[in-house]
Subunit: 248 residues, 5 copies
């Protein structure tokens, strides 16, 4: 569970509402149906116009990573790889067959199978790196869904605000009507800027880092599996890979 | 058919008009001939000044991809390549001659012909990658037509708005005339920002992803055809390529 | 002749003036000497402060490309290269000596001379690619002259507008004077934004694409000349290079 | 101790407060609890929503580098490496074992151990470069915490300002109340822009340069250690490495 | 002497002051002590907070390049290299020893010494390219000092303006006091935008191009010295290098 994310979302909206309250504003002054409809609807419309269906589906799937990031246990990963190297030393690469069957992580499993098949190290690297990049690209494309909403929300908010201002311009001579009219128009700006900066953009950035961490975890496995294919000894593999651990 | 695109375009303009209606604004208050002329005309003028003729033609050609993206069936593509590998195993590379003649996809056909001609794997890769990059560059240049309109529209909208404001400044002393004048001026801002954010920019981004997906589909064929040239067995080719499938 | 460029420039300024007219504004309201002096002078001043002399000269030289882009006939280029390959096959590389002397394009001529001198393919590639990159860099540096003016114009326009606003603030109590004063101040904004978006930025982008197209044309010659040096047969060279043609 | 940083932080806030004083403004006019709560709280909320826990911890750890940058003595480093080369010449690579044990810098120590183990130069380079990049990536991710706060602060400041403006719109008819209300609203803008431009963004940039300098210092060790592994003589190593010294 | 730079600086500030004068504004209306203190002080404070001491010193050192760019005589450089190649042909690489001692340019001298020492071409390239990149990085870091001031100045200008507006909001009911108050506040905006766009940003860009040109000049020497090490004949070296000359 990523408590920082939960605290971040709650704190963000709490200070807006609390700050408004502290300034003496009422909660009603921040509520406006048409503004919400324009900003949320317009932002969502722009985002689905630009997003291919498969990226949209993936974006919805990985949303949960914001609060429950994918598990990338570098220390355990290194221990696993060192154990595999020891097994390969003792029983040959074929000794990894049983391990490959029981491995749950699909990426590591593919690497083990390539080892068992006796593929050349260079071939293993090419296949695994290609898979890493393809998955990473798919997920970065999905992250763009949130990123694009973070980009569109403030500008759609400006559309809502300007439309509201157009509406009140008929009351320009009457400050008693003008003031509340402008106030309503400004709400769209707040919706757009707050949604983008307190929600969409931070979420996109967090997801981007989750994808990068998963890629780094997979790089660890690529390096380790190549080293096993090269017949390096477990101690040397551990030394080689502990840089990944230190960088956590 | 890309329903997300259709929904996105319709939803975007629907919430603007609906939101305006819900706020009590009339549809007339959003209609303004000169503003439309300035924003549409100016944006189009800037875009055709910057776009070479061949990119403009290509931009118009690929516009339909927004609603009907090019078909890139990764699963079928892998099946095809595995079948070709089997045919090459059975009858030699010359056995692909008939298949090459019947292949409809021009890119795959060129790859098959290079195989039949017995070109070196490295040569095949260089030629096909060069074709991939040249086509991709041509299409990214075409996408820039829409992207540039997304960039110019809001600033041209500002020109329209400021010109409108200049016009009403003569009525500064008379709020009864000033208000409607400012309202009209603001319409140009809405045109510019809405066109850019609900149409041009999302369209450019969708097209960019279509081009990237086509390139990825072609990379699949390059990898497969090189593997056939290297004489790899069909099962190993399938395993190598299934990363493309998984990443969809 | 690039008619799109001519239409783009004329259309851009026509819709601004026509739109102003349609909104009921006079042409005089868009004319303001001091604003023009500040925006044009300031933009030009910033651009020449940042541009080295040789880039400024080159920028003025290549300006004509906006309306008369450099001629890059890919189909003819491929035909030429195929003919050279045939000549080299028939009479050896020395048979290209006469052709080299008559070749008018300096870049192609240098390539032919390197062929006649019997240079290694790798050496030819390195020299020609180095020349391509050096020329491209020189021209991209020149394009930055226009690009930088597109960046400075709107901000200098804001300086002009704010200076105008400062000037009218003394009349804040008298709307009869305030209005026209603000109107004059706003003209500087229009000058800056319009110059940047209807002229400098599109021109910079068109020039950038001209430079890129020339580089692509030269890449075609590099590939072709290397293939001749490698002794490839004309038919194979044609097949290799037709990707350039298809991408036009 | 980095006196420039201390002077920069103090000077930045001093000129704001001093300038306000010189303009005749009171310090109270810049103090506003709700604005501070919105801007600080919202910026912090967005930043912790986007930052993974390990990057946040690292960000807090390296904050002290702003005032006490990590020590990277290039001249001493070169002297050390030349001494190691001399020792390796005299006693063989095993002669470095004692030196490795006493070396305090973990990165240099790992390099020495790889030398003592007799690893191939190419292997040493790959391991040390991988460690360098992993650490650099971890620290750049941490720097993004401050950078993101520099990006969010001004937009959250705008939220605070617009919320304040909404609040005062009810007093639009009464300038005696309107003025102070707008003044309070503007304070949020100042908080956001000042925090970003006088604190978060400069700090992020300084930290980024600290990380880059440490990487450059490590590159010096990689080059030196590879040269020792290649058996180069101390004089030649010194000449090779003095470019690092000259570039300080 | 770079006359364009001198003209650019003078012209920039002349059109601002002249334009203000032509609009009927007085020079006094552009003078404001507190605004200058906030904008200059705040911008400088942010820049020194972010800049390491060595980059600040280098930034001050290379400032003179704006008006007196480093001398990079490509034609002379090629002539020198051709002469060295001829000397090396006649007397062997040792014949360059005397030339190396008399060479004033430190970079060329190091290259000559490496030639005299009989280093491998690949080693010479690596050492010289490393030196080129290290120096380039150091100078790009120094250029960032001016670039960052160009980025901070307008935002600090906004702080000054908003602080001024807060101050005048107490006079909202009295246009006679309000107008001049707003005018004073706006001066800070002009200071920030003008400093950035007429001084800091163009200067940073000019310096960046100076650094790039010096790097290109050094690349010329690297290519030439490698060619001498490879024993190429002077005529062929001249032909190889004349692309550098053509690109000026």
């Amino acid at each position: 569970m990523d408590f920082l994310s939960i605290v971040g979302v709650i704190l963000g909206f709490a200070v807006i509402i609390g700050g408004n309250f502290a300034e003496g504003g009422s909660i009603q002054s921040l509520m406006n149906g048409p503004a919400a409809m324009i900003v949320l609807g317009g932002t969502f419309a722009a985002a689905i116009l630009q997003t291919p269906k498969k990226s949209l589906k993936r974006a919805l799937t990985i949303f949960r990573w914001v609060f429950r990031p994918p598990y990338s246990p570098f220390a355990e990963g290194i221990k696993k790889l060192v154990n595999w190297a020891a097994a390969a030393r003792k029983d040959g690469l074929l000794g990894l067959e049983q391990i490959a069957e029981n491995e749950k992580d699909a990426f590591a499993k593919k690497g083990l199978q390539l080892l068992v098949d006796g593929s050349e190290p260079e071939v293993i690297r090419r296949i695994l790196e290609s898979d890493l990049i393809l998955d990473e690209q798919r997920d970065f494309d999905a992250v763009k869904f949130y990123e694009s909403m973070g980009g569109y929300a403030p500008t759609i908010g400006i559309i809502g605000a300007v439309m509201g201002l157009i509406h009140v311009m008929n009351n320009l001579a009457d400050p008693a009507l003008l003031g509340p009219g402008i106030a309503v128009a400004f709400v769209a700006t707040i919706y757009g800027v707050a949604l983008a900066n307190l929600f969409f953009l931070p979420i996109a950035n967090k997801l981007r880092m989750c994808v990068s961490e998963r890629s780094q975890y997979r790089e660890l496995f690529i390096e380790g599996i190549i080293a096993i294919a090269d017949g390096e000894n477990p101690r040397s593999i551990e030394m080689k890979l502990n840089g990944y651990l230190h960088a956590q």
